[in-house]
Symmetry: C2
Subunit: 342 residues, 2 copies
DNA sequence: TTGTAAGCGTTATCAC
DNA sequence: GTGATAACGCTTACAA
């Protein structure tokens, strides 16, 4: 029913203080600022803590200290590995300074994301990790108003007042497209995530268009399909693209999950990859190497990004430093799904 | 630096009360027990809440109400999809009653799990979701002492005082082994997770041994390799098993991640699956269908399990009901990786 | 170095 | 139905 009330007779600071024969202030210091206390009294206090199995009450602590040592992250999805590694690294970095991460997922829905953000703020998050920059400006106002530091990852942008730790989605996508164009591909299709509220998705498409333009192709000739991120949707989109006349020789995908769907669909349809059609992904998550042929994709340094995002956020919350922008390099992971045009 | 302090001038209950011309008590009632308040005053209060963009302070609330509406989950890993779907379902169920889930991962390490549990408790978790039953009894004492309801998922056991929402790992594994034995397999190997502190892993191995025994085989002839759960480790284990003389005709795996590793290793080694050797998994996560051949595995109803686990936990925390045990059915997902013995 | 005591922002128990 | 007011358990000036 409740957990920390006296109903269960949980020990409080006062109990510990009494047991150790000191004041509550001293006990508090032992726990938060051991340096301020003599070795002897600290030993005595710690003994009491052990004996009583004392655990500090989070609510009381947050209330008094006006700080929770809790951070929040809202990611689009937990169901595939896209964000898992990065968030794990972020969490590890926080854990190393005894802070906790609350993770929520928005299912790629703006309204859900907004309520998750409010929720995390209400729960006293000291700082927030969000993905991408594309959201209602009111949200940034809300956060700025309460002085909550924010780091935006997986992208680079120019939202004032927040940190960015990400990479250049457009450039990465362009580089991959250029490689494909050099292999002779001209009829190109792209399976993208819904681009609304998704700056990463849009930038990736734009990168391809830029490469096409630079190669003298009409960027508007890019055949674009937008869908949700899932293997199933990737399959369906690939079907759609391959059913018509004038099949593309290259199907680029907004992420590896879609690309895996595309490759699986190709196999089901008896289409050879990369013989009949090449496929590319984005992210370089494990599944990209599991499917056959393995997928040529953009390698994103997820771990590093998560770790650096945490560092950047902590510099803001703990040291009061201003927001900063860190742009990471990506590289192309060359595998078998991309080959020269038929 | 801090987020809810007056530094940012955040509105408090008192501000709202003043604005609406009522007492703080009335504002509190409007928020928590609207029925106790007249329609008229409530309207006035809500208006003030809107105007001030008031958000209740979590710490203060937790302190006064002795309840956080926050639940905790400690799962072995977030890096693959094994627990993702179940936890997502658990979280969805909590979200529907405005409660929040804090997720932590232990990396399959008992000591890490213990500290995560303490951490969640310290943060005021009203209840806990843990995986499996195999842990230091002192942890259960600790939890019972503070009256924190616990639900154990992914397994069934007999730990008193806690709920179980899971399935019979041994029976599921046995059923799969029986099916394989019927196909003529006699030289069997098993790639398992570390079995220490992992009742699910042990039960799955035992299920296979039971099937062997029932089929007149010596259970001790099962070639067992224990390793960490990862594709890489699965590959390595498969290599080890296949390098020696007297290769097995069937390699069963403790989960799909290991099985994917096994199938990939087979391909690399030029070993045909299931022609030369059959492979099975456990869990039925998406990756099992991505690899080729797709993996025959035990389908676990993750979503359902997560949802029912939440229900069971809420019955304890909200309604004060006693712990309960719910055993779900699993079934075999038949795919191409298991075939008759060569 | 240690103690005293004033908050921190809610909820809940009384009266009215 | 509403308003005072006493907790809730901790942190942190300020004193000693």
């Amino acid at each position: 029913m409740n957990n920390q009330g006296r109903t269960a007779g949980l020990p409080t600071l006062e109990d510990v203080a009494r047991q150790a024969g000191v004041s509550t202030a001293t006990v508090s210091r032992c726990l938060n600022n051991p340096a301020q206390v003599t070795e002897a009294t600290r030993a005595r206090v710690m003994e009491a803590v052990e004996k009583l199995r004392y655990t500090p009450n989070f609510g009381a602590r947050a209330l008094a200290a006006r700080r929770t040592n809790t951070y929040g992250a809202v990611i689009p999805t937990m169901e595939n590995a896209i964000f898992a590694r990065g968030v794990q690294a972020f969490q590890d970095a926080l854990a190393s300074i005894d802070s906790t991460l609350l993770v929520a997922s928005s299912n790629y829905e703006a309204s859900v994301e907004e309520s998750q953000i409010r929720n995390l703020v209400a729960r006293g998050a000291d700082g927030l990790l969000l993905i991408g920059a594309d959201r209602d400006p009111a949200i940034y106002d809300f956060l700025a108003e309460r002085g909550i530091p924010v780091v935006l990852a997986w992208a680079i942008g120019n939202q004032p007042g927040v940190s960015f730790v990400g990479f250049d989605n457009e450039a990465a996508s362009r580089k991959l497209a250029e490689k494909a164009l050099k292999l002779g591909h001209r009829r190109i299709a792209y399976i993208s995530a819904q681009s609304i509220h998704n700056d990463r998705a849009r930038a990736r498409v734009e990168g391809v268009r830029a490469a096409m333009k630079a190669a003298g192709l009409d960027p508007q000739s890019l055949r674009l399909v937008e869908t949700h991120y899932s293997i199933k949707r990737g399959k369906a989109a690939f079907h759609t693209l391959m059913e018509g006349e004038d099949r593309p020789t290259l199907v680029m995908c907004g992420n590896d999950v879609l690309a895996v769907g595309a490759v699986m669909a190709a196999r089901e349809m008896g289409i050879d990859v990369p013989g009949d059609v090449s496929v590319t992904g984005f992210d370089d998550i494990e599944i990209a190497t599991v499917v056959s042929p393995p997928i040529t994709t953009v390698h994103v340094p997820h771990r590093k990004m998560g770790n650096l995002a945490a560092q950047a956020l902590l510099r803001q919350t703990l040291e009061g430093k201003p927001p900063e922008t860190i742009c990471l390099e990506t590289e192309i992971a060359e595998r078998a799904s991309l080959g020269p045009v038929g």
